[in-house]
């Protein structure tokens, strides 16, 4: 088993508001900020937490589809608008669908481990509300196998894919229990989002979230097994954090309580052209999380907080099983028993997650790291939970369980 050659830390996290439906400032008919706005705003929020930006050695930005959503490539260069000190240094863009942010983190970790950098600025960004949802679905379908899957896929390609998973899971655990679990996941997500000033569902005032989540799917209008409440949002936003060596964060003027340590990570990809081996299991996520935990020398029982990629409620439920919070087929029970609630054994997606905070795809993996960092360092303010263990785990997933980065952070 591979180990980290030297300690790696994360610090100075920040993220923007997730802009999209639900936010009062969002109006699809009026012009909205573009990529550069989010990059500048988020970068400034991270730099405001450190001393000299010149201490940053490299930058990396995760982004999925700016080339289509915004007709913008070359984001590594665009990232240097954050500060002149980033110019004439390495800066690159990485892409792994919705795990692009996770890949950016992994890339930064490797730079630090290699000794080529002591401080790396990591950012994730996506601005998706440039097109209607029906065309957004086209762009996001690029996370699947275009030549082999798109033509016969659902108009809403990924909702269709995860509807298939929801259908298989319903058959496995019973449709009523599955629907209840999905609805509880949705309720937990919005309840957390209501505490997070930047969450897209911050202003959701629905009196009965569970009733909304229990809305029967409408196959004619959407998908066979998922309703609209089961879905993450179409979002604009960015997240950023610094990955540093010990020398690096000391150079930034930070103290140990300002940083969290990377205890272990797993990064892997599965064959994009192959169907999932089991629709009711997130196989790649499970293996990546196992790898991260092995590297950290920690088990799920050592985790005090979790961030999982709930692009749909069903993925949230399946990820509880992939992380070992529940046995195969037991994720629904785990959710219904409240194990993932804010006051549960594993407070999960404490800022709302993808369903509640939003899902600016390329930013999401970085946003997860920021939320873990905030929780482990007591910086989550209104959505802070009681973190009873020293570790937190994140799982950043791209496509239908194809590219995954899992990280374990320790306070």
């Amino acid at each position: 088993m591979k180990t980290l050659r030297k300690p790696v830390y994360l610090a100075a996290g920040a993220y923007t508001t997730s802009l999209g439906t639900g936010r009062p400032e969002f109006n699809p008919r009026t012009p909205r900020p573009g990529l550069d706005h989010y990059i500048r705003q988020c970068g400034a929020a991270t730099l405001a937490q450190i001393g000299d930006p010149a201490a940053i050695d490299e930058s990396v930005i995760g982004n999925f589809m700016a080339a289509r959503f915004n007709r913008q490539g070359h984001l590594g260069s665009l990232l240097t608008i954050v500060h002149p000190a980033l110019e004439y240094k390495p800066s690159l863009r990485v892409e792994g669908a919705c795990a692009s942010g996770g890949l950016a983190l992994a890339s930064a970790v490797k730079s630090v481990l290699s000794g080529m950098a002591d401080v790396v600025l990591v950012m994730g960004v996506e601005v998706q509300n440039t097109v209607k949802a029906i065309y957004c679905a086209d762009y996001l379908a690029g996370a699947g196998w275009y030549d082999g899957e798109r033509k016969d896929g659902h108009a809403y390609f990924f909702p269709g894919k995860f509807s298939d998973r929801a259908g298989a899971y319903s058959a496995k655990v019973g449709p009523e229990k599955a629907r209840q679990a999905f609805a509880h996941w949705y309720r937990n997500a919005v309840e957390s989002a209501r505490l997070n000033p930047d969450a897209q569902e911050r202003f959701n005032t629905a009196a009965d979230l569970l009733a909304q989540g229990l809305t029967p799917p409408n196959p004619k209008g959407f998908t066979d097994h998922l309703n609209l409440y089961d879905c993450s949002k179409v979002s604009d936003g960015a997240a950023s954090i610094l990955v540093a060596s010990e020398e690096g964060w000391r150079r930034l003027g930070l103290a140990r309580e300002d940083v969290v340590e990377l205890a272990g990570y797993g990064q892997m990809a599965a064959n994009l052209t192959a169907p999932p081996p089991d629709l009711t299991e997130m196989t790649t996520c499970r293996r990546a999380a196992e790898q991260a935990m092995a590297m950290a020398g920690a088990g799920i029982g050592d985790m005090g907080v979790a961030e999982v990629h709930d692009c749909f409620t069903v993925s949230g439920v399946l990820l509880t099983e992939a992380l070992g919070m529940a046995p195969p087929g037991g994720g629904a029970d785990a959710v219904l028993e409240g194990l993932t609630r804010r006051d549960g054994r594993w407070p999960t997606n404490t800022g709302g997650g993808l369903v509640g905070y939003g899902h600016p795809t390329g930013a999401t993996g970085v946003r997860m790291a920021v939320d873990l960092w905030r929780q482990l360092t007591g910086r989550a303010a209104g959505y802070q939970v009681d973190v009873r263990k020293d570790h937190g785990i994140l799982v950043s997933m791209g496509g239908n369980d194809k590219t995954v980065v899992s990280m374990i952070l320790r306070r």
């Binding site: 209607k132 029906i134 065309y135 679905a137 086209d138 379908a141 275009y146 798109r150 033509k151 659902h154 108009a155 004619k220």
Partner: protein
């Protein structure tokens, strides 16, 4: 000849108008889907109007709306385009659909364009002379097998058929505004109408996802039969109130009560503006000509003489009429004495709202209730409260509800509607009322 064959050659006369453009859109979409499902057949939709600008605007409207329809029906498109290897993404299929819709359209300014049409929809200006001229020409130009579906909302069909020699070949296929949205088609079957035309009209309405309500061939039919009488009673009530409160104040009060207290989508004067004061006058004239019951308003004539017309702009915006509009919302009231609009500022409205008295349930609005699955129960509770209130507004609302009900029952008594339920259906489906006028809420 079956309906699908007839649908291969359709014309719309008056296609660039408010109603004609909506009808043209519905037909263009229907023809496109039929063409995709029957790729060996050729479909043509002739769009006829008198001015180029209107026709160009129509093409733009159809194109934009076709794109929206394609987006709404993307699952259907994905199934229809299953064998088109070149179409993979939603965007590609939506654009292919738009192209298909536009492919079947041809535009022109003369009726000759309808010369080979087998189904002719007519939505020309609601004026008898205009319609006579059109049908006299079409009777000569079109094949003897052609059917005519008129969108007239007031002119008795037998007058048109007799004058133009098209007996048996015409039916009233009366859409409501906007045709693409409203679910209602009032079906007027004149005496001697070809039974196959009646059956085909029912099938067509079904294909267009419309619900038909039968109306007898009596001027105004059900929709305008009720609306014109309802409108006139509101004008009379307003003129009576104006003696005590002043003209603009009375317009505000009647409009307010008919909207907020009767839970309708628009107040009566806003609705007349929406239809157009000129159209309102034309319909009154036609109805009064055939019914001889004094359906007339001096005020309407006066306003039109002053150039106050209401109606809508070509882009669908609301023109000023009884009321002035700011971003589509009432913002002022016309005062004939000064020929100026009096702003509906907070002090003005608060004073008059105070005179009307407290609303029975301020949280209950047409918009909120229209989405409420427990609508029926809430309506009953609301009217029970209204019944017990002793205020100017409550009295006006009760009187209006009672007059509306009597107007509806008169239509049944006169045989215009076969049943009270048909009048209720027209008001709920065609006018977006939450409840029919014939009810027991205030009994």
């Amino acid at each position: 000849m079956d309906l699908n064959t007839r649908m291969q050659n359709v014309a719309v006369v008056g296609a660039a108008g408010k109603m004609g453009s909506g009808i043209a859109l519905l037909l263009a979409l229907e023809l496109a889907f039929r063409a995709l499902e029957n790729p060996r057949d050729t479909f043509v939709l002739s769009l006829i109007d008198t001015h180029d600008a209107g026709l160009q605007g129509l093409l733009r409207y159809v194109r934009d709306q076709a794109r929206k329809e394609g987006e709404r029906q993307v699952n259907r498109l994905r199934a229809l385009f299953r064998d088109r290897a070149d179409l993979v993404e939603n965007a590609e299929m939506v654009e292919a659909f738009v192209a298909e819709v536009m492919l079947h359209l041809r535009t022109g300014k003369t009726l000759a364009l309808a010369g080979d049409a087998l189904l002719v929809f007519e939505a020309a200006f609601e004026k008898e002379e205009v319609k006579f001229q059109i049908y006299n020409e079409l009777a000569v130009l079109c094949p003897p097998s052609a059917w005519f579906l008129t969108n007239t909302s007031s002119i008795p069909l037998h007058v048109l058929t007799d004058q133009c020699g098209i007996q048996g070949r015409m039916i009233g296929f009366h859409f409501y505004n906007p045709p693409a949205v409203q679910k209602l088609v009032e079906l007027i079957v004149p005496e001697g109408c070809d039974p196959e035309l009646v059956a085909a009209s029912e099938d067509l309405a079904l294909a267009l996802r419309k619900k038909t309500v039968p109306a007898r061939d009596i001027a105004g039919f059900i929709g305008n039969g009720h609306f014109m009488r309802d409108g006139l009673r509101c004008i009379r009530e307003m003129e009576h109130l104006a003696l005590d409160y002043g003209f603009v104040q009375a317009v505000y009060m009647v409009d307010k009560v008919s909207r907020d207290w009767l839970l309708r989508p628009m107040g009566m004067f806003q609705l007349i503006d929406y239809v157009g004061i000129d159209v309102f006058q034309l319909i009154l004239r036609v109805m009064d000509k055939y019914l001889q019951e004094g359906l007339h308003s001096d005020l309407v004539d006066t306003l039109l003489e002053m150039g106050v017309r209401g109606g809508q702009t070509s882009s669908g915006g609301q023109k000023d009429g009884f009321l002035r509009y700011d971003k589509g919302r009432p913002a002022g009231i016309f005062d004939p004495a000064t020929r100026e609009y009096v702003p509906m500022d907070p002090a003005f409205t608060a004073d008059l709202d105070g005179r009307l008295g407290p609303h029975p349930d301020p949280a209950l609005t047409w918009k909120a209730l229209s989405r409420d699955p427990g609508k029926e129960g809430r309506l009953r509770a609301y009217f029970a409260t209204l019944k017990g209130l002793d205020s100017l507004g409550a009295g006006m609302a009760r009187n209006h509800a009672e007059d509306s009900r009597e107007a509806a029952l008169d239509l049944v008594r006169q045989g215009v509607a076969a049943r009270a339920e048909d009048v209720n259906a027209v008001l709920t489906l065609g006018f977006f009322h939450l409840y029919g006028p014939v009810n027991d809420y205030l009994d």
